[in-house]
């Protein structure tokens, strides 16, 4: 332990007021002189030494975690760690504790879900003190947390939802945001997080679409790499302020049959390799990623948690991944309960472990039985050793043996500080996507004297799923009022309630009472008719589109249009004949055909994070020029699904009433200024297979405002041995240009940009002519030919 680290630890322990006897910080930890304690030795040597000292039970203990079972280590009727209970319940130690910031397993109080910052740090430090000092080998506990778009805990900073972050087309921003998120997690004492999600999302009925970076494998890969580098930094060891990321969910989760969460993914091998694997593969290749989570779903009859081919052959074999595989929550139990591919917990544990799942989250319900299975000869101990070695390796690389404790002072100082808030604001500004505008936006300050802010999403800062409870949020109404203070009158009307409750955790979702909503619409109409501008905030809520984690907690939908009475509210506002600007606040793509056709302007804000209201007001009044693009194709109607831009061509049966084009194409987004993109130029018109090429495009801001354009490069192979997608995104760059400014954007295409998986399922580059397509979205493209010889 470094002196600094030791000082922090002493300070941390001294700050504990946990129930039960707090043992004094012993002079020396258990096995103080063993090689595994020597941080100068390579991790492999430390793992080998430690593993050699462990009993079967101690090894298995490293593969489990405590969530509901936190109960076993908490004082009765309390959320505080209890040494005596822990010593008794887990004499062999424990590998992980699941989500230390929540009170699962502890004292349940109505309306309470989180520990305070102080309580979390105290719980973690006390648990570590037990593990380090009072278990035989002193192996520290690994705490893991959720942090999709912010540390999912109390008092932390909440950033825009993942789908919005992806729409920024700004990997540097994603990296910066994740660095802050990781820092806030780490400072509380956790070293592993279950983020990012790199599923490609191909079904907007699916309530988890908001958690993804969208539909494109390349974009998801770039954002995944940026997220992981932000969270854990470069390399394979954790620096201070960093946490190990978990790549999830491998795979197929994002194209569930009929749009329902956890439903089968009927995805074939080439489709997996070409579209679903690349984000995972990129992250494995370009980062020190050391944790991967398989998906809940089955792929072609094989649940991912028993998929040896997926985990063993592809991930560990072909890609050379050597980190841990952590199960998704309850997924091993679900092999019995949902998939019916195991008769009981024992069979499920054997199948999952043998497929390569090292840790069972959140409680290790089936893995707790592994010692008996080894003793009964149903499983070789070598399988346990392999899994345990990976967990230990992660713990060594996390530096947990040197410094397992957190400091409450540091946690207070760092969490949600000014730097974090400023970045949350910047991230929100850069994820706003302008979908329609007849010139109503931006609003000139002073142009309107009385402004109605209306709608169910106007006065509440919607954060989306996987959110914590930030100290501070800014709603649209807050943001507009602050912006216009003293300049115009701002009035508010609810318009409708989307749902009857705002409780995010509620299982049952009831749409707002139509009768009450009718009255609210009347009130809003009466209020707005005396205004000269209407800002209407509509969309979804954390209830109306969410992770359907149980049959009594649903989140997927059969219709993509606005739910409840929101279209009626929109029509009532439209009927007033006033300028009407719609702010879509949601995590699901806005298939709002009625709104898109009739609003004067439509700004897709996604769930913009805790500072979202300020960012939205900035954009409305022209202090920020929206520059994000859609990371998903937006369907007009559910009957079009699946609809994604990089589909392979097929002959079509002409039929009936299904519209052909999407409402908005992938990569689409407007600006308050205009850009002219020149024809693409290539650094070479002919290259050899295995060489790259640089695409140059002249971009000019032809308008009167500074603004951002995202230059997008797509590749199409017009003749190949297997059917190729109509186009595939292979590069992009977001640039900011002053009025009149012209710049040449250079985007490098790597050899793999031209690769395909041939009939023999080998990744090859087939010589021939390629189309290089460049433009401001996936629809409006200019072409340059490239020959590969």
């Amino acid at each position: 332990m470094t002196n600094g680290g030791r000082r922090k630890a002493i300070k941390a322990i001294a700050g504990m007021t946990a129930l039960g006897a707090v043992p004094p910080l012993s002079a020396a930890p258990p096995e103080a002189s063993a090689p595994y304690r020597d941080k100068s030795l390579p991790v492999e040597a430390r793992v080998k030494d430690l593993l050699g000292r462990m009993t079967l039970e101690e090894k298995v203990a490293q593969l489990i975690a405590l969530w509901s079972t936190k109960h076993d280590i908490l004082a009765d009727g309390s959320n505080e760690f209890d040494f005596q209970k822990a010593i008794k319940a887990y004499p062999d130690g424990v590998g992980q504790v699941t989500r230390p910031s929540d009170i699962k397993g502890g004292l349940q109080e109505p309306g309470r879900r989180w520990r305070t910052q102080e309580e979390t740090v105290r719980f973690i430090n006390a648990t570590q003190s037990w593990a380090v000092n009072r278990t035989r080998l002193g192996i520290p506990v690994l705490f893991h947390e959720e942090c999709l778009h912010g540390y999912m805990a109390a008092g932390t900073t909440m950033f825009p939802m993942a789908i919005g972050m992806s729409g920024s087309f700004d990997p540097d921003l994603v990296r910066d945001v994740n660095a802050i998120i990781g820092r806030e997690v780490r400072v509380h004492g956790s070293h592993l997080v279950l983020s990012p999600v790199v599923d490609i999302a191909r079904d907007p009925r699916w309530g988890r679409i908001e958690e993804t970076f969208g539909e494109d494998p390349y974009l998801c890969g770039e954002m995944g790499v940026a997220s992981v580098l932000g969270l854990q930094g470069e390399g394979r060891a954790l620096a201070e302020g960093k946490v190990f990321a978990t790549l999830k969910h491998m795979t197929g989760h994002g194209q569930p049959q009929s749009g329902e969460n956890v439903a089968p993914a009927p995805i074939s091998a080439r489709e997996l390799r070409e579209n679903f694997f690349p984000p995972f593969r990129e992250v494995v290749a370009r980062t020190g990623i050391t944790s991967v989570m398989p998906s809940y779903n089955e792929i072609d009859g094989v649940p991912s948690h028993v998929n040896k081919w997926l985990i063993g052959t592809v991930l560990r074999g072909e890609w050379g991944y050597d980190g841990v595989i952590v199960s998704d929550y309850f997924a091993v139990e679900e092999l019995v309960k949902l998939h019916h591919v195991a008769a009981d917990h024992a069979e499920a544990a054997i199948r999952a472990l043998q497929a390569g799942v090292d840790c069972e989250l959140p409680d290790g319900a089936t893995y707790r039985g592994l010692p008996a299975l080894v003793r009964d000869g149903r499983l070789p101990e070598s399988a346990i050793d392999a899994a345990c070695a990976r967990v230990l390796s992660l713990k060594f690389r996390a530096g947990l043996f040197e410094m397992p404790y957190a400091s409450i002072d540091e946690a207070r100082r760092i969490t949600d500080n000014n730097e974090a808030r400023a970045l949350a604001l910047r991230a929100a500004r850069r994820s706003l996507c302008l979908l329609a505008n007849d010139g109503t936006l931006p609003i000139a300050p002073g142009a309107y004297k009385r402004i109605a802010v209306v709608g169910p999403n106007a006065a509440v800062a919607r954060l989306g799923g996987y959110s914590g409870k930030p100290k501070h949020t800014v709603s649209l109404l807050d943001g507009v009022k602050a912006k216009l203070a003293g300049k115009a009158e701002v009035v508010f009307a609810q318009g409708v309630f989307i749902t009857q409750s705002e409780a995010r955790e509620a299982d049952d979702v009831k749409l707002g009472d139509p009768e009450k909503n009718r009255k609210l619409i009347e009130e809003a109409t009466a209020l707005a008719k005396d205004c000269d501008l209407i800002l209407l905030a509509i969309g979804d809520t954390e209830q109306t589109s969410r992770e359907a984690y149980a049959t009594n907690h649903l989140g997927d939908r059969t219709s993509l249009d606005l739910v409840g009475d929101q279209n009626a509210l929109f029509d009532a506002m439209r009927g007033l004949g006033k300028p009407l600007v719609v702010l879509a606040i949601n995590g699901r793509p806005p298939s709002y055909v009625n709104v898109a056709a009739k609003a004067n302007a439509l700004l897709e804000c996604w769930y913009p994070g805790q500072e979202g209201g300020t960012a939205m007001a900035d954009a409305l009044f022209g202090d920020v020029n929206p520059g994000a693009k859609l990371p998903v194709t937006v369907a007009r109607d559910v009957s079009q699904l699946p609809v994604y831009y990089n589909a392979r061509p097929e002959p079509r049966l002409s039929a009936g009433n299904i519209p052909v084009t999407p409402l908005f194409p992938f990569g689409f987004g407007l600006s308050y200024t205009t850009f002219e993109l020149g024809a693409p130029r290539l650094s070479a018109s002919r290259i050899k297979a295995g060489e790259g090429v640089t695409v140059e495009v002249d971009v000019r801001n032809t308008g009167k405002r500074e603004g951002d354009e995202v230059v997008q490069v797509y590749v199409h192979d017009p003749l190949a041995t297997v059917v190729r997608p109509v186009k595939q995104l292979r590069g992009f760059a977001r640039v900011t240009l002053k009025p009149g400014e012209q710049r040449t954007v250079k985007i490098a295409l790597h050899p793999k940009s031209f690769a395909l998986w041939n009939a023999a399922m080998k990744e090859v580059i087939e010589p021939g002519l390629f189309d290089i397509l460049v433009g401001p979205n996936s629809r409006d493209l200019q072409r340059a030919p490239l020959e590969i010889i």
Binding site: P264, V509, R557
Partner: protein, 539 residues
Amino acid sequence: MAEGQLRSLERSGFPEPLALACSWDPALVRETYSEIAAIARAQGAKMVLGPSLAIERDPRRGRIDQSFGEDPYLVGELAVAAIEGLQGAGKPHELAAGKVFAAVTGFAGPGLPAEGVGPAPVAERELREVYFPPFEAAIRRTAVAAIVPSRNEIDGIPSHANPWLLKDVLRGEFKFGGMVIATREGIADLHTVYRVSSDEVAALALARASGADAGPMDVEPFAASHTAHSNAVAVNAARRSIVLLANNDILPLSLPTAGRTPLKLALVEVGSMTSMLEEFRARMRDRGAVVTPGQADAVVLAIGEADVAAQRDAMAALAALGKPVIAVLVSASPSIDPEVARSSRAVVAAWGLGDGGPKAIVAVLFGDANPGGKLPATLAQNAGQLPLFYDEKPTAHRGYLFGTTEPLYPFGWGLSYSSFELGTPTLSSTSVGADGSIQVSVEVRNNSKVAGDETIQLYVHGKVSSTTRPVKELKGFQRVTLKPGEKRTVRFTLEAASLAIRDMDMHRAVEPGEYEVMTGSSSVALKTATLTVRKGAGK
């Protein structure tokens, strides 16, 4: 046969395949296709294009009206019957008089999408468990002359250019000895759509190299021409293909009796109609006074190719009059808005019935014929539920917010003017070896005062398996006609081999363990017995 010529099977005047599949009656299918063969042969054709052996599980894909439905077993049984009807039973070396060769289509995978809908994913195990079985059954049990590759692509490989599909699977595994015939469209797709060939010459060469050994051939339309006999066959086939989906004490319509005022009926149409509606109207007129809706005792609403809005508008207009509505679905493929269905006193599925349709529909409405058809495909409530099929995996369709996973009408569903009571299945043995078989018996009784048909359906479900398996799978069915009060024991032979799945290594495996054996009148009205499959072989 004129060299290089195929005769289309579409618009033959007989019920289209999806309609015929509603009969769940292989003998009827055999008879119908035998009649079709005779007509085609008389016109000089020696080979016909079809029927399709495709499984259609999404009405936005494929030509659902040209398919026998969503279930691998049902499609396989009806395909075998159809091929036997066309070519003659068994494996004759030469074509008998009045027979034609069948060039069956749809090999393999999901059908083409409608304009505006994206591609349907499918992977190898699903291909093998869902899409291949009808072809395997046809090759094993008939002398099917030719197979036509589908126009779709599977995982980036168009079926017309898929040597794994056309050689390894079809020739190697299935031992198919007939012709593989490429279609003109299938060849053209290779260079114009899929872009795996530079031009037509290269496309043809690619198809040939991939296993197509004939074609492309021209397809001539079927020239429907009926004899008195074929007319009778067509009407009988149509009658047996009608499905009574809902009936709230209104059907059959009571006939006018002496001394009483005849029933006054109105006929309202929505959606584009075929000429058969004129005949339908004439036949209705024969049976009672045809009046305007305002004057009618009941309204027959014939729903053709009509979108939801048109259907609802029509229903709203009738609802305003307060008249009971009998909805008759006469579109080419299933289409009814759930609201319209719920507002109707009765719903009759009568799609694609062909020339015998009007006569058959009127006979059913007035009770001269007792409907006995069952749905060969799930009818969804809306596009948001798609795909929706009964033999789904246990993780599918766990629920929607503000929506339902329930279909409008489930697979195997169909009512009758009779009422039947079905017993619990009894097994000849509660355990079986992996290569054995058992008898499944179920008692069925007609509890009503009218003779009628019931189709007893047998489903199985393996409780635990190495790879996931559907929640239920059809493995047998029998349509029986029972007199009032009649009781009969229906017997099925269930081969343990039919319980096989494709295991982790893609091998066919009958896995030991417990299986539910379910019988009933539809996929949602089932009674269960438990069967144990023992390890290893033996009875």
